[in-house]
């Protein structure tokens, strides 16, 4: 049965069992995905996952109780399960006090986005990958299939989002930890595009054949490629942009918000939902704006506000969650062709890894270089480097030590698959930074 039709049918059925003063909010998250795990260019694990989960919030006045459960997509079975669930939630609700921060959209806004793209069969994909990568030590994951998100409530609102896409995230190893990381994501598989990407990998692998340099701890001029920038911003996003974390003084950007520190005036960072890669409706029925500017001109400019914070702090909702899922960093003026010249002598860092805060109040972040990172001299790549630990403040990286921003940006689709495939993404340029601190 069509998943959209089925979801709305279920909610209609549940609505008919509501008591007079009750409001029901329902969200659906689902996927029909294939996962192909590869090592040494052979299949390690391959399979298909079909999972549909319904979240339900049953409200009466200012009291509510919520729950999540899987749907079998068998109507009789699911309705029976969900009616039992509603009964349990009514009972639990009696034990709960009024929720002062309960807030949901009461003016129905309908939306529907269905990307009707068709993917190449995963069985064919794995054949293409293993054939095209013959001779390479390739390890990684192909994840592809259809994703679903839905919202419906007893006030008549209906929202639906469905897309089919893939994310092939892989690494080709030269030896030990010397490797080239790549991604190929999209909604239409192209054999030529895969070949091009693998050709680029082969070229970079040749660069890794040179003996690796071991750098001493110290400060270096570096280029952070978009993947490396995404690692930094993912760490900052951990409490960095939500209104709740600001009001409770837990944001790592506390000094930026208080105005005692600033970033370079060229830094403009926004949550950009306009690209249509992720749905804009929230699980409370709100529609998020196309853009929420978080940092502008190097200064704090805004917060992500979910429905609870909106009620608590009396400000409009602009996000489904206070963790960003569509970060967009403005491009700069350094042309990609001029990058190595601009770097001159320093480190070309393709990937950073395992970042965490070493001093949250100063937004100081530590992490590791990973995969193909190179020592560059006089604008020419000289040698790969052994992995190094960095420990650096965002106020240096995007502030006083920022040299320039690349003029082209890369769209990075989040490859996370905890519980389910992510729909997050970032649109980022590379950054040229001076005096970047390596510590170990």
């Amino acid at each position: 049965m069509n998943t959209q039709y089925y979801f709305f049918l279920l909610v209609d059925g549940l609505n008919s069992h509501l008591r007079p003063n009750e409001v029901l909010l329902c969200s659906l998250t689902g996927e029909k995905s294939d996962f192909i795990r590869l090592n040494r260019n052979r299949v390690l694990q391959a399979g298909s996952v079909r999972q549909i989960e319904l979240s339900m919030d049953l409200i009466e006045g200012h009291r509510h109780a919520s729950a999540q459960c899987n749907l079998s997509m068998q109507e009789e079975r699911d309705i029976s399960q969900l009616l039992g669930l509603m009964d349990a939630l009514r009972h639990q609700r009696q034990a709960l006090a009024d929720d002062p921060f309960l807030y949901y959209n009461t003016t129905p806004v309908h939306s529907e986005q269905i990307d009707d793209n068709r993917l190449l069969s995963s069985h064919e994909v794995v054949r293409e990958i293993t054939a095209a990568a013959e001779g390479l030590d390739l390890v990684g994951l192909y994840a592809g299939g259809r994703l679903y998100r839905g919202f419906a409530n007893s006030l008549g609102q209906r929202n639906w989002y469905s897309t089919a896409n893939f994310n092939f995230d892989w690494t080709c190893y030269h030896r030990a930890d010397k490797a080239v990381k790549s991604r190929y994501a999209g909604s239409e598989w192209s054999s030529d595009r895969l070949q091009q990407k693998l050709e680029h990998v082969r070229t970079e692998l040749r660069s890794l054949q040179r003996p690796a340099l071991t750098l001493k701890p110290g400060r270096y001029r570096v280029y952070l490629a978009p993947d490396a920038v995404s690692e930094i911003l993912s760490t900052v996003a951990w409490g960095g942009f939500g209104l709740k974390s600001h009001r409770t003084r837990q944001t790592p950007l506390i000094k930026l918000a208080q105005g005692t520190r600033s970033l370079d005036p060229r830094i403009r960072l926004a949550e950009n939902c306009a690209a249509g890669i992720a749905p804009r409706f929230t699980d409370r029925g709100f529609i998020t704006p196309e853009e929420v500017v978080l940092i502008d001109g190097g200064r704090h400019a805004g917060y992500l506000v979910d429905s609870r914070s909106a009620k608590e702090y009396r400000t409009p909702v602009n996000a489904g969650s206070e963790y960003p899922r569509s970060l967009d960093l403005a491009a700069g003026k350094i042309e990609p062709d001029d990058l190595l010249t601009a770097l001159d002598t320093g480190i070309y860092i393709n990937n950073l890894w395992y970042s965490n805060f070493s001093d949250r109040n100063d937004c100081r972040i530590t992490g590791m270089t990973r995969y193909a990172c190179f020592w560059v001299e006089n604008g020419r790549i000289k040698a790969p480097i052994e992995v190094m630990r960095f420990d650096e403040s965002l106020y240096h990286m995007l502030g006083e030590h920022l040299i320039g921003i690349i003029s082209e940006r890369e769209l990075i689709l989040d490859s996370d698959t905890y519980e389910r495939r992510s729909i997050g993404h970032m649109h980022l340029p590379g950054l040229l930074i001076d005096r970047f601190s390596l510590t170990l």
Binding site: F35, R37, R40, R42, L44, Q45, A46, G47, S48, V49, R50, I52, A65, S66, A67, Q68, C69, N70, L71, R77, G84, D87, A88, Q92, L96, A97, D99, V126, R127, T130, V139, L141, T171, Y173, A176, D177, K181, R249, Q250, Q258, W353, Y354, S355, N356, F357, S358, D359, R360, N361, M368, R370, V387, R389, S393, D416, T417, Y418, R421, T439, L440
Partner: protein
């Protein structure tokens, strides 16, 4: 007080029962070299009181089937939450199709696949069940703790929560049935103190996840901790930064759990050593030839894989390949003995491992994981350790963790530290961090705390694998003293 039965939606054996699904599945069982069915029914409840207000409780139940097929040299799986006859039948055919499609390009040989050998059962030992008190009583406890946490004007955020997880798993093959029921409880509380641009957090409990009922709260003195946590959070606002330099380092059990996890547990995972995780979680500085000879740490270092320890969060009787679990030394007298690899990885590597092939839920295949990785107690009391230190730092409660992809160069930070000078514990220091290299750090292990000071810790979310999986693992450890460690503080 016992809740009324109808409140038990999330924790009853409400239909469909495993036995009904198994019966349906057996009628569909395919004629292949091998098949298995793993049913998982996970129920989670979480109650949080933040700033004296009860947040909406979380109630989640996930129920599904994971079907594995080995056939003709290939292997495949399919996972579904449609447990009807047609849903299971579709999944069976998807798994068969994957086995067929990968037969000539599969990495794992036909003879390397693990198959369960015997049936059995396991159930967590619980003294005071989660549902033996009402949700109101749990809220009352958390509200009481909130009042203790808000002990000072400088406390700007505070919360306390209780999480309950009931994980029922049934593994079925043509000849074997294994049923395991694991119950976790994770209590946690925290206080956030602020003064201008200085924010400090102290927390307690989240690394004390256990296979237990509500008795875990008194075991870890959960209620008593709230006042201390609030006081320490405020004290940190006025404390100096941790000094920089090479000093002795005394790690308390909470931070030892993280240290063991990141720089012993992960590097010993056999799938990492085999290269399976090189695109995500990483590889390992440990290589196969090191087992049996490599000096991992000082002679004081003894580390076991022990899924048999009652109440520890990573305990079980069988792993998800159906292998029977037993206690094994991973490191003895500082010498590396065996890796953390399940039967499939052991066959691939030609090494003896342990029963640790685990999956986080029905929607993910099993991979090599930690279970309980414990550092065995020594003979030194914490007082003796402190007395032996001329210049050192004591660190407690992890707050930051970062390590390279081969699990060698690490940097960890804690919520709080204390100076140790001339054999005495002195004042609090904030932002304590330290860095080192796994391959040499454990060789500087100078003293290991005695059994009376050993704490049984549990980490509820260890992330790894592609597709990603988060799973609970346990680490028991006494305090440990390391010499000549690079420590430092904040800006």
């Amino acid at each position: 007080m016992i809740d009324k039965p109808r409140q038990y939606y999330f924790h009853s054996n409400s239909p469909p029962l495993f036995s009904d699904i198994v019966k349906t599945f057996r009628a569909l069982a395919p004629a292949v070299d091998f098949w298995s069915l793993r049913l998982v029914d996970q129920r989670l409840e979480r109650i949080t009181v933040r700033q004296d207000r009860t947040e909406p409780p979380a109630n989640r139940r996930t129920l599904g089937a994971h079907i594995t097929v080995f056939d003709g040299g290939g292997a495949g799986y399919a996972a579904t939450c449609d447990l009807s006859r047609s849903g299971l039948n579709t999944a069976v055919h998807q798994a068969i199709d994957w086995a067929c499609a990968t037969a000539d390009i599969h990495l794992i040989g036909r003879e390397e696949h693990a198959m369960p050998q015997r049936s059995g059962r396991y159930q967590s030992t619980i003294e005071q069940p989660w549902h033996s008190i009402s949700i109101q009583d749990k809220q009352s406890l958390l509200i009481r703790l909130n009042r203790r946490l808000k002990a000072h004007d400088a406390i700007v955020d505070w919360w306390a929560s209780l999480e309950y997880l009931n994980n029922g798993v049934m593994l079925v093959t043509p000849d074997v049935e294994i049923v395991q029921s694991v119950v976790h409880i994770t209590p946690s509380l925290a206080a956030v103190a602020n003064r201008e641009a200085e924010t400090q957090i102290r927390s307690y409990g989240s690394d004390n996840a256990a296979q237990a009922g509500l008795e875990q709260l008194s075991r870890i003195e959960f209620e008593e901790a709230a006042g201390r946590v609030a006081e320490e959070a405020v004290a940190l606002l006025h404390a100096p930064n941790c000094p920089s330099g090479m000093r002795d380092l005394l790690l308390m059990p909470g931070q030892m759990a993280l240290q063991i996890h990141e720089s012993i547990g992960h590097p010993l995972e056999l799938d990492r050593i085999l290269g399976d995780e090189r695109n995500y979680a990483g590889t390992s500085f440990v290589t196969p030839e090191m087992f049996g000879a490599y000096r991992y740490g000082s002679e004081l270092l003894n580390v076991t894989f022990d899924p048999t320890r009652p109440n520890q969060v990573g305990s079980y009787r069988y792993d998800d390949e159906g292998a029977a679990a037993s206690r094994q030394f991973l490191i003895k007298g500082g010498i590396l003995k065996r890796p953390l690899g399940g039967m499939t990885s052991q066959r691939r590597a030609g090494l003896e491992g342990v029963a640790n092939s685990r999956s986080c839920s029905w929607n993910r295949p099993a991979i090599d994981r930690m279970a309980n990785i414990n550092l065995e107690p020594g003979e030194t009391s914490p007082e003796e350790m402190i007395a032996s230190v001329e210049r050192g730092i004591l660190m407690e409660t992890n707050r930051s963790w970062s390590i390279d992809d081969s699990r060698n160069k690490f940097q960890f930070g804690c919520e709080i530290g204390w100076l140790i000078e001339q054999g005495e514990r002195k004042g609090i220091v904030k932002n304590p961090n330290y860095r080192g290299i796994s391959a040499t750090f454990w060789r500087n292990l100078k003293a290991v705390g005695d059994a009376s000071n050993c704490a049984v810790m549990g980490v509820p979310t260890c992330g790894k694998g592609e597709p990603n999986q988060a799973i609970a693992v346990g680490h028991a450890s006494p305090p440990c003293l390391f010499e000549v460690v690079d420590v430092f503080g904040g800006a």
